[in-house]
Symmetry: D3
Subunit: 242 residues, 6 copies
């Protein structure tokens, strides 16, 4: 029997331990601490009864996201973005991705003139923070919408289906699922895939870190992503039923 | 027997439940989740082998602090400071206070040319976030210094004594200890007191929110602060012994 | 007879020469050059017929302050904050203090939907700029309100009582009043005290610069502050009667 | 015979007219005006004999990109980013993509301690500005490197292979190549694909604008991208031979 | 016969080749590529149906300008202003000059509540970018206004007369017209003159780069400017008739 | 006898009362309060033993200027630039002008590797603040240089000649000298002229506010400026002799 190639000893198609702690903080309409192994992200969903200027008076709502990382969520301390006075390109890119992804499962007309802001703050990072954030933010979003419906503020459920995300990559020549930091910093290709519970793709973002990847490698990664997201959606469902 | 006047049912001189969870995250040299009732602040101490420009080559270290609040740590969502592009005056004021307070117990020469940054991030707020931050940051600082000593990087302990902080105020005419949000938002006077374990004062910052406070009220608040800080120092000691 | 310990030869409880030059500039509704010895601060009070967003339509006014220091008000030139593109934490802290202090003597309902901005610009600094600013801004505020009343714009005087501020500290082991720069840069404790003319405390901000201060030292400083503010209030009154 | 579905009358797998005008401006080491139909991007490559701090003294070079759009490159005027004081998230995302893509064909050791900055400025936009920018920047990069070699500054060619990019999407249910603005603003899926001349993938970024896309649609899009990039590489080669 | 003193071989009173390419880009209401020798500036005129706050409801329009230079328009690459996060003092000065100059030929009441923004972006610089920008922006402005009139949006022509600009200077002791970069970087005096087609002066901005200039030199420069602007106005007229 | 046309009753060629109060503040090497009628500008000259990066190691010094206006120096309060987070285009333009003007009388090699910063802060504005600033900054500069020479830090006087500035304009059809605010806000042309004591021109900046100005008007304004600057230079000399 061969040695495992992954530093964590996981098989190529194995997710890390994933958990969702709902109601992690008490003020937000939805508040979920999601963990993908040692990656821990606090996702809160906040509802406000107003919409951005470009939607005012149109009877539609908005879903947006902001992403942050505590300065010492990582191995070496990063500058605090509030202190530097601006968000990095990486941060902006990630929060745009989270926002687009979650909007893909929301009927904004059913939401009415409300904004739901998904704040995803990384307390501890070990690779895959953006995919954990999307997967956790979905649970927070569902909780927030349930609260709105419980209060009778909206009648029709604006959330249709489920959204989850996972990373895939080529690590030491092998396609693997859900890369941790040790793998992520040493892989040839890193791809983030966002899908819905119907097997449809919402976002695919792949980057060749080392050599370019072949079409066959891409196919293998897509395959892993499909099974990984299916597992994540089942875990979301279980957490929401809990 | 009279009804309690405090919304929480506490007696005037009673602290909230205070706890310190050491090792809350794994990357920082010191990482403590401190809770004062429903106020939860993650305090990390990060060590870097460099000092700010004004200290370079002087053989002394530096201790500084940064403070942040997650956007939905509070009842209504606040703008993310990284998005607005600057820290508010309140944030700057608090982080300056935390830094000054902790420097009061550090022999910077014994620390050597290192910077310890205390990041205090409020996960959930219910009043007294700055005093909880100072009290928790002390524990994180001690843990970080112990790690440096364990690695043999420094020989002499740069931390002398202990530092803790608590708020006091006049609520419905009565001097009370450790105000929670319900009290803080409806009190006449709010005072933050930072002391060391020898009963010395490091910082006193009092503000009349409603009517001006009398000298006798001030004396009563100082008295409460002295007993409160003594209790907090004992709790820090117990947590560090744990 | 012992030598004076203070560099200036003042006795421990002696203020510097304090003066108020009303009408120092001609455009502002109130314009006062206040001097505390060599500290010179130009305080102007500007009235505008609008209020910040959070007060609109509530029938109340607002009083706010801004603080600045000319680049060469001090011994070595400081960067101009407008050039650096932001105000320092110290500046924000001071202007927040001035604003809170002055609001403590204003009936904002009697002021009506107006904003009075107190601009305190330090032309020359020799310690105690924030206490001089508060003490001078009060005189400018009274002048501005008198102008409004003279024009018949408001009927009831919105200013009740007087506000003044002074610093106290422990210098070479002795509690002293109204520290100048030579004392301030070499003292163990520095405390700024804002009071009203009824002997009530508005703000107390004390910092141990060297060793922590004892309760008895604090009491001695408060005592000095009480007599110092009483003198300042008398000087304000005389200036306003002039 | 059926009507063409594309507004431009192109067949699904047809590129727009693509041209490269080398030496468009005279100062830059490489200067190329690339057009993809009505999209016109000026790509300059500037060589500087220094590297960013993190590479200093390592004997390696750096390739980076900046992207901008003239305010009236589009149908309605956009705010100038220099005036607003910051680059948008979209801009940062695009320039990070261009930089990563071009670094994939550069041997940074052969480049030596030099930085090549690829400035991609959109003079006129009609969809696909980022793929045109990557495709044109490659030609400017080759020209700049040729100049360095001509001057004898570097001995070994640091550019290996070629890089080109194209967009693909699902428009009215049909997979199409190289979307123009009319298609881009009305499509279900938009995907940008960066490849090398060996058929390897460098970047894949796909977004479901309308409904989620199926695996089979993804495969069809990848197929179109492969043939499209192959054509672009041939056009680059012809232009460089010109 | 003496050698020419100007590096370009031009006579002292000779303009560079000047051309106007109208309709250079397709989206803007007016779009002109102006060249003064090797200086190439893209001037677009964009019409928006709103005015700045200070003009709202007054029945008047506004004309404003923005100026930019592509990073490699010059011999060595300049930082992109959007990346640095602010426009330089030079840029602000130039765009204020362009705006003021063009407003001098516009009847803002006839324009109605519209804003015309003149974006002047330097694609390639060889001295005199601001005078080329003003001269080209005038042509773009006339084209934009013609479009508004063609659509029947305004009845009366808001443009009266013509505006053009040219630089003059003292180069090697000789007054010369329309300095190129080689002359500009080595001259004693540089003066930019904006005039209308009636021979009236709109702006005169002269700077002694080396020694101070005498009144007689000033007179000689004004003389050159008058003839230069007259030529430019004729060229504008010809281009607009084309 | 005709009525005076100037609001102040001055004759067309008459300066306002001009005064220089040297040593106005005590910290700066040069500190002058200059008044041109009701315009009052505090000009300080600060010497630092370092130069900007582009001059390091070249054995030359630098002279630069910063300009500011207290928020209530004018009739209605202006936003504080430090609060807004940036200097306006007007401010940058003025401080660039002051710096260029003063550099015109300094031998930077004789100054050695030192920077003199001229801070010009307007305490009260009544038109002509930039010309007053230049005229006063010259006196502060001379005082600062004298201090350097007195300390034996430099041997040769780096200041050659004198610099002064004045505004001229066309007010109600008449060329006038040294416009005050009432004239400035209602004139047809406003021109700022900087000259040296030898009658040479350093800067000429003229703007047609209303109709364009004719060559003959320009000549008349230049004439007024020449006599005005000559008077100012005499007043500077008298002040420096005092």
């Amino acid at each position: 029997m061969s040695d495992p190639i992954r530093p964590s000893g996981r098989t190529p198609g194995q997710l890390r331990n994933v958990s969702f702690q709902r109601g992690f903080t008490r003020h937000a309409e939805g508040s979920v601490l999601v963990t993908f192994g040692d990656t821990r992200v606090l996702c809160t969903a906040s509802v406000e009864n107003r919409v951005p200027g470009f939607l005012r008076g149109k009877g539609e709502g908005w879903v947006t996201a902001e992403y942050g990382m505590l300065p010492r969520a990582t191995n070496t301390r990063n500058d605090r973005e509030a202190t530097r006075g601006k968000q990095s390109g990486r941060t902006l890119e990630i929060q745009r991705l989270i926002g687009r992804s979650l909007r893909a499962c929301v009927d904004r007309r059913a939401l009415g003139e409300r904004t739901i802001t998904l704040d995803c703050d990384v307390l501890q990072a070990d690779g895959g923070t953006r995919t954990a954030a999307i997967t956790g933010a979905y649970v927070a979003l569902v909780d927030a919408v349930a609260k709105l419906r419980g209060r009778g503020e909206i009648s029709r459920d604006p959330v249709h289906g489920a959204i989850a995300a996972v990373s895939v990559g080529i690590y030491k020549g092998v396609p693997v699922l859900d890369l941790d930091y040790a793998e992520d910093s040493d892989c040839d290709t890193d791809m983030n895939v966002v899908m819905n519970d119907g097997g449809g793709f919402i976002e695919v973002q792949g980057t060749a870190e080392g050599h370019a990847f072949r079409r066959s490698e891409m196919d293998a990664m897509m395959q892993l992503a499909e099974t990984g997201v299916a597992e994540l959606v089942a875990l979301q469902r279980a957490a929401l039923a809990g």
